[in-house]
């Protein structure tokens, strides 16, 4: 509702912004009526809400179709990026954290520390440009922009909207590899800063847990160090890093627009940014709404993961 109101009070005339200064007054007037922009604000909200419950988010002024259709087209690309980002974070953050937590102060720990600072210091868009420069321009290993090469365009059926999964499901292996290559740069750019930070948090949590009495207790019973570390220290340590990771991934939804713009990734964040600049009212509200829902979804998943690994979360309610 707040976003709805904010979008409406933004300065500038959305119709004029969409059609330019030269459209005749009557066209503008007709569009206004069509979008209910001539009605008072509370009525506008009421109409909008009525439509939302019918899964219609109103017409976009730029693409000239219902915003829900736009989002259905662009959201899967962003979702793919986010999922890839989550996978990347997990396969980078956990091993790095575990490695550096094992022997604090050892060479490995220091190398990872330096890498972590580099990872954090460079912003998302910086990474996107650097990676493009190195892997696409100099080395030519990876494509710099887009989701899939032209030769495969139209050859992959749209099932889930996730290019990698669609191509895999339809058995088109070359297309899958191609899609994966396209996915790599934006994913790494989007997640590397967060991933190294999460590795550091995991490391700190491990170091803290290693000094606890229960570790000494297990050691005093002659339980092998590897079992203590990987089974009994790691799990409680994860409870510190999982919520952070969840939050990071959720906020990546918002941050994705930089990467999507630089890598020409046809995702929802980029769509939302264009909508914002062009004052496409319904599109803005729609994107914010979906972002909010995605946020809630990510947080729910985080809570479920925590629920599984930490019995204190699971049983607290029942105990009281």
């Amino acid at each position: 509702m707040l976003i709805f109101a904010l979008a409406r009070v933004l300065p500038g005339d959305p119709i004029r912004a969409a059609f330019g200064p030269d459209v005749p007054e009557e066209v503008v007037k007709r569009y206004r009526e069509m979008l209910n922009l001539d009605k008072p604000l509370y009525l506008q909200y009421f109409y909008w809400l009525r439509d939302v419950f019918q899964f219609r988010l109103g017409r976009s002024l730029i693409t000239v179709r219902d915003v829900s259709a736009d989002i259905a087209e662009f959201f899967p690309a962003t979702l793919e990026l986010l999922l890839a980002s989550a996978v990347f974070r997990i396969i980078v953050a956990f091993p790095l954290g575990v490695l550096s937590g094992r022997k604090p102060g050892a060479i490995m720990d220091n190398i990872i520390r330096v890498l972590a600072y580099i990872g954090i210091c460079i912003p998302t868009f910086g990474w996107a440009i650097i990676l493009q420069l190195i892997f696409a321009y100099w080395l030519g290993w990876l494509p710099a922009i887009g989701r899939i090469s032209e030769e495969f365009t139209g050859h992959v059926p749209r099932i889930t909207g996730l290019m990698t999964i669609d191509s895999l499901v339809s058995g088109n292996v070359p297309a899958f590899i191609d899609a994966l290559k396209h996915l790599l740069i934006p994913t790494v750019a989007l997640s590397i800063g967060g991933a190294v930070q999460e590795a550091r948090i995991l490391r700190a949590s491990i170091v803290e847990n290693i000094g606890r009495d229960y570790v000494l207790n297990m050691k005093s019973h002659g339980i092998p160090e590897k079992i203590i570390y990987f089974k009994y220290v790691l799990r409680p340590s994860l409870t510190a890093v999982v919520p952070v990771m969840g939050l990071d991934i959720a906020s990546a939804i918002g941050n994705a627009f930089l990467v999507e713009s630089i890598c020409n990734w046809p995702g929802m964040s980029r769509y939302g940014m264009i909508a914002m600049l062009r004052k496409d009212l319904n599109a803005i509200v729609g994107v914010v709404l979906i972002t909010g829902i995605a946020y809630i979804a990510v947080n729910t998943i985080t809570d479920i993961v925590l629920y599984v690994i930490d019995p204190r979360v699971r049983l607290r309610g029942r105990e009281e």
């Binding site: 000494l216 207790n217 050691k219």
Partner: protein, 332 residues
């Protein structure tokens, strides 16, 4: 033969800036089925001593020199497998704080079975499980099945400490190290827990080192007592003798200052603080707080002298005309 003998053990902790000289030549022994008390203020190095015996010091801690003889074998020189075996089957340790001695995110069953798996090799899973239940029953916890299925935070402090004791028993084949087992418990259950430990030790024919601030408990439960001050053993005597007629000034002060219910005034405590381990005082480490300190105490570290057949003390007041004893008074 002694079950455990610690000889001239030096341990230091290192931080980034400083070195802490914590254990300063500890010598101690435990015979089979003997209950030994270890008393002294907090920070005297009692816990460090127990951890050094099992070599489970934190990474900053280093054993500088000395010997830890387990059934005649020096654990500090023995190979890792032997030490692991002693940890699994020889020595069990009860930790001070039952709240932190158990892993918060694993069931009691998982943790206890993990311990048993290594202490009883060759047992099947169901045999281990019945062993676990038996152990839980032996520490007088009702409904073992339910306890095993619980997480630590679902149990009370007393119950948790019983679980910790059960765990310690699992690997205490010969010796139990009890590190202030009741300090963090409710006063009302302290007594129960101590009785339980005492009974279990006797039943199972174990030896024990009991670290405690509660001198009354040590007096009741042990055969022999060591007084520790700032990383030194300053006195050793059979329990009744030590409490009836303490020799070392520090032991005297310690016993005099036990708060008594019959007395209306609170004990004054021992004046001063334990020394800074970074710069321990030269000579006798106790001299800055000692009411009898004379010049020599500030310069020369007193060595242990045998004052009678079964007593040993490290103080210049008693050293005149007596020979320095290395190791233990009773050691042959």
């Amino acid at each position: 033969m002694n079950l455990l003998e610690v000889r001239d053990l030096y341990v230091k902790y290192r931080s980034y800036w400083y070195t802490y000289h914590v254990l300063d030549g500890i010598t101690l022994r435990v015979s089979p089925r003997e209950k030994v008390g270890l008393i002294g203020e907090s920070g005297a190095g009692k816990t460090t001593l127990l951890k050094s015996i099992l070599q489970i010091l934190p990474p900053q801690g280093r054993i500088v020199r000395g010997e830890v003889l387990w059934k005649g074998v020096d654990l500090l020189k023995a190979d890792k497998g032997y030490v692991m075996n002693v940890r699994r089957k020889g020595i069990g340790m009860i930790f001070q704080d039952p709240l932190s001695a158990l892993n918060p995110v694993f069931k009691i069953k998982d943790q206890l079975l993990e311990v048993l798996r290594y202490s009883y090799d060759g047992y099947s899973k169901s045999e281990l499980l019945s062993l676990a239940e038996e152990l839980i029953r032996s520490v007088l916890l009702p409904d073992p099945a339910r306890v095993l299925e619980s997480y630590p935070f679902q149990l009370s402090g007393g119950m948790r400490q019983r679980v910790v004791i059960a765990m310690a028993l699992a690997s205490a084949g010969d010796l139990l190290l009890a590190d202030e087992p009741t300090t963090n418990l409710d006063v009302t259950i302290q007594d129960q827990i101590l009785r339980l430990i005492d009974r279990l030790v006797i039943e199972r024919g174990l030896s024990m080192i009991l670290v405690s601030h509660a001198l009354g408990v040590v007096a009741k439960m042990t055969h022999r007592v060591y007084t520790m001050y700032a990383g030194n053993i300053v006195e050793e005597a059979p329990t009744p003798k030590l409490f009836n007629e303490p020799l070392h000034p520090y032991t005297k002060l310690l016993i005099e200052n036990v708060p008594r219910i019959s007395s209306r005034r609170l004990g004054e405590g021992i004046k001063g603080n334990p020394p800074d381990y970074r710069y321990p005082p030269p000579g006798c480490r106790f001299h800055p707080r000692c009411p009898y300190a004379v010049d020599i105490c500030k310069k020369v570290k007193p060595f242990c002298v045998k004052v009678s057949r079964d007593r040993r003390v490290a103080c210049h007041m008693y050293s005149e005309g007596l020979e320095k004893v290395d190791g233990d008074v009773n050691a042959n």
